[in-house]
């Protein structure tokens, strides 16, 4: 089934949050230029000040951010530690302010994705109808006894999680052995599937729900344009807002697929299990995601933008294509082997040499493009947050209190995660806190609050 392949391709890892500079396909150029621009004017926050870091390790980490892993996996987030010489209180305050800014930058896309999913679930019947299951969850939940059903859901979860773990390990292996073409091809295939096939199905169902007729030529034109522009924006260059919008849409589509094809209890157990997996994979020293991040850091390589949402500005085309004559020093990193050599030293002195020469000759106007250090969130996070809220909206008796409670819980979890990140300055998984809150709120609201509020509302009683 197409959903299967897509599922395998797109959601292997997940959530790690990243503080990063701009993210686009002009990877190396952007990293370098963004690093430069952060150095030249006064840094707006301590993270920016880190750019010209004394600490070679910090510099490597900073650069390593760019080389995060690509797709599903969660780019790890590295936030540099304090700049020496600043008063610690101010530093902390700046850090928290920085963290707070990112809370806002992420609230909006996460909210939008959830709104799209909930609106679709509530209006289009197709996504709440039971129509078979994915091959990753082969055990049915139409069993006679509760115990059997629970057992089946646990088995489904085990299978799903092992598929995810295997995919992640496969990805790490591919990345370690530099099979970039394979990874790229995999990503492109997943995006193609999402942008064309799933969009076509979605559009078909929405049109059916609202009883709107559309002829095949129009449909073909619409889907073709949508998909082609999406591929361009996501894998190549495009306006940031458009790229963000497409990433939100494909996350929503993927979440809808999960909501439709995951049986009830399995969905909840899978959500719980994947947060635990995320926690383990990101924080344990031998976790696949951590290893992936470390490998990426060592090589100082940029990330594939296809499956990571970035809130930062991207450089324009003009900026990205730097003048070769003046950027001789910058061309070095393009070559992977040489890049490794230049990066392995990690020593402080090596970097300023690379960056100093182009700086004076750098046209000032181009630097006006606001390089906002953005934050990145893996698309897997969007997907699982939306799955939780969507499932809350789909099950139950059309109750909105549960949906809203889960929505608020997820946002609170995200806020806490981002603030913890700013405080601990270490890569943190974004799923566990939000999903835990979401699950607690879902079950308590659905079983305790809903009957109570229903009775109150029907008699116009206010508390």
């Amino acid at each position: 089934m197409p959903e299967d392949r897509c599922g395998a391709g797109t959601f292997g890892g997940r959530v790690m949050l990243t503080f990063m500079a701009s993210d686009s396909e002009e990877e190396v150029c952007d990293e370098r230029t963004s690093l430069m621009s952060a150095e030249s004017p006064m840094p707006r926050s301590c993270q920016e000040g880190r750019q010209g870091l004394e600490n070679g390790e910090g510099a490597a980490q900073w650069r390593g951010q760019e080389s995060e892993e690509d797709h599903e996996e969660d780019p790890d987030r590295y936030v540099c530690s304090g700049v020496p010489g600043r008063p610690p209180g101010l530093e902390e305050e700046l850090t928290l302010k920085y963290g707070a800014k990112h809370v806002i930058m992420l609230f909006v896309p996460v909210t939008l994705c959830m709104i799209v999913v909930v609106a679709t679930i509530k209006s289009v019947r197709f996504y709440t109808e039971k129509n078979g299951q994915l091959i990753y969850t082969p055990f049915t939940e139409d069993t006679s006894s509760v115990g059997q059903r629970f057992l089946n859901s646990v088995l489904n979860t085990l299978i799903m999680i092992s598929v995810i773990v295997i995919m992640t390990i496969f990805l790490v292996v591919l990345y370690k052995y530099r099979c970039y073409k394979f990874i790229h091809g995999w990503l492109i295939m997943s995006s193609l599937m999402l942008l064309f096939l799933f969009t076509y199905i979605y559009l078909g169902e929405v049109l059916k729900t609202y009883n709107v007729a559309m002829d095949y030529p129009t449909l073909f034109l619409t889907v073709w344009n949508f998909g082609a522009v999406g591929m361009v924006c996501i894998h190549w260059k495009g306006p940031l807002v458009l790229q963000q919008a497409y990433l939100i849409m494909i996350s929503a589509l993927m979440a809808l697929v999960f909501i439709k094809y995951l049986p009830e209890w399995s969905a909840w157990v899978i959500l719980g299990a994947i947060s635990v997996y995320d926690l383990v994979a990101v924080l344990c020293p031998k976790g696949p995601l951590r290893m992936l991040v470390e490998t990426a850091q060592e090589r100082n390589e940029p990330i594939f933008p296809a499956l990571i949402y970035s809130s930062a500005m991207v450089w324009t085309v003009g900026m990205a294509k730097l003048d070769p004559s003046s950027q001789g020093a910058l061309q070095l990193p393009y070559d992977p082997e040489m890049e490794e050599d230049s990066c392995d030293s990690l020593g402080e002195p090596s970097y300023p040499e690379v960056f100093a020469p182009p700086l004076p000759g750098y046209p000032g106007e181009e630097l006006e493009e606001e390089e906002e250090r953005g934050v990145k969130l893996g698309l897997g996070d969007f997907i699982f947050y939306s799955v939780l809220v969507g499932k809350a909206a789909a099950t139950g008796s059309g109750d909105w209190n549960t949906t809203l409670a889960c929505f608020v819980a997820i946002l609170i979890g995200l806020c806490l995660t981002l603030l913890l990140l700013a405080v601990f300055k270490k890569a943190l998984p974004a799923l566990p806190i939000s999903i835990t809150f979401g699950l607690i709120f879902y079950f308590s609201t659905d079983n305790l609050v809903r009957p109570f509020m229903d009775t109150l509302a029907s008699h116009q009683l206010y508390i």
Binding site: D399, W400, L404
Partner: protein, 200 residues
């Protein structure tokens, strides 16, 4: 029941709260988040010792509004979604203005929560325990009215009277005075609280 009822009731109930949010909170989200995580008072204290009190008032306002919105949303959103669907209101003899009454009641609850928040925080800060008691009792009173009295019109009128009284109380507690009100209404409010808050 139509979309008109749905939108009308939704805006009656949530319009003022949304407007307050958009015009006062959404424009300075960083400050709000900062307040909530508690760092602002230390940072601001180092700059200007007099800053702490207004921040606390802002926090009281924001948290009161937050509580109010959550309470209002949870009480009213299911009723709102029912108002879109097919049905006839009052078919068994209940008052046909069910939706409108609910919407106005939700509005009064949201605004009351906001005022209670301001007064409550102030009471806690200045250690005026009777304030807390009065807030609690008025809250109980408004809820009990809805439980006991079947006349929704009477409930609404009483609740709005309590709203006005609590609003006046919150206004004076947060530093307003007749003088500042006059200045504000005549648009000569260079020294008014809100103006000062915004310019900081």
């Amino acid at each position: 029941m139509t979309a008109a009822v749905f939108f009308g009731c939704a805006f009656v109930a949530f319009g003022p709260a949304l407007a307050l949010y958009i015009f006062t909170i959404a424009t300075e989200p960083l400050r709000i988040i900062f307040l909530i995580i508690g760092k602002s008072s230390e940072g601001l204290k180092s700059i200007n010792p007099g800053e702490k009190a207004p921040s606390m008032r802002l926090l009281a306002y924001v948290s009161g509004l937050g509580f109010g919105i959550m309470s209002g949303v949870f009480s009213f959103v299911n009723t709102l979604s029912d108002s879109l669907g097919p049905g006839t209101v009052g078919i068994h003899g209940d008052p046909p203005q069910f939706f409108l009454n609910s919407a106005f009641m939700t509005l009064v609850i949201i605004l009351l929560h906001m005022f209670w928040g301001i007064v409550f925080f102030d009471g806690c800060e200045k250690k005026k325990w009777y304030t807390l008691l009065v807030v609690l009792l008025t809250h109980l009173l408004v809820s009990a009215l809805t439980f006991i009295s079947p006349y929704s019109g009477l409930n609404l009128v009483l609740a709005y009277i309590i709203l006005v009284l609590t609003g006046i109380w919150a206004f004076f507690v947060s530093g307003g005075s007749c003088q500042s009100l006059k200045l504000c209404l005549l648009c000569q409010d260079k020294d008014s609280l809100l103006f000062n808050q915004r310019s900081r």
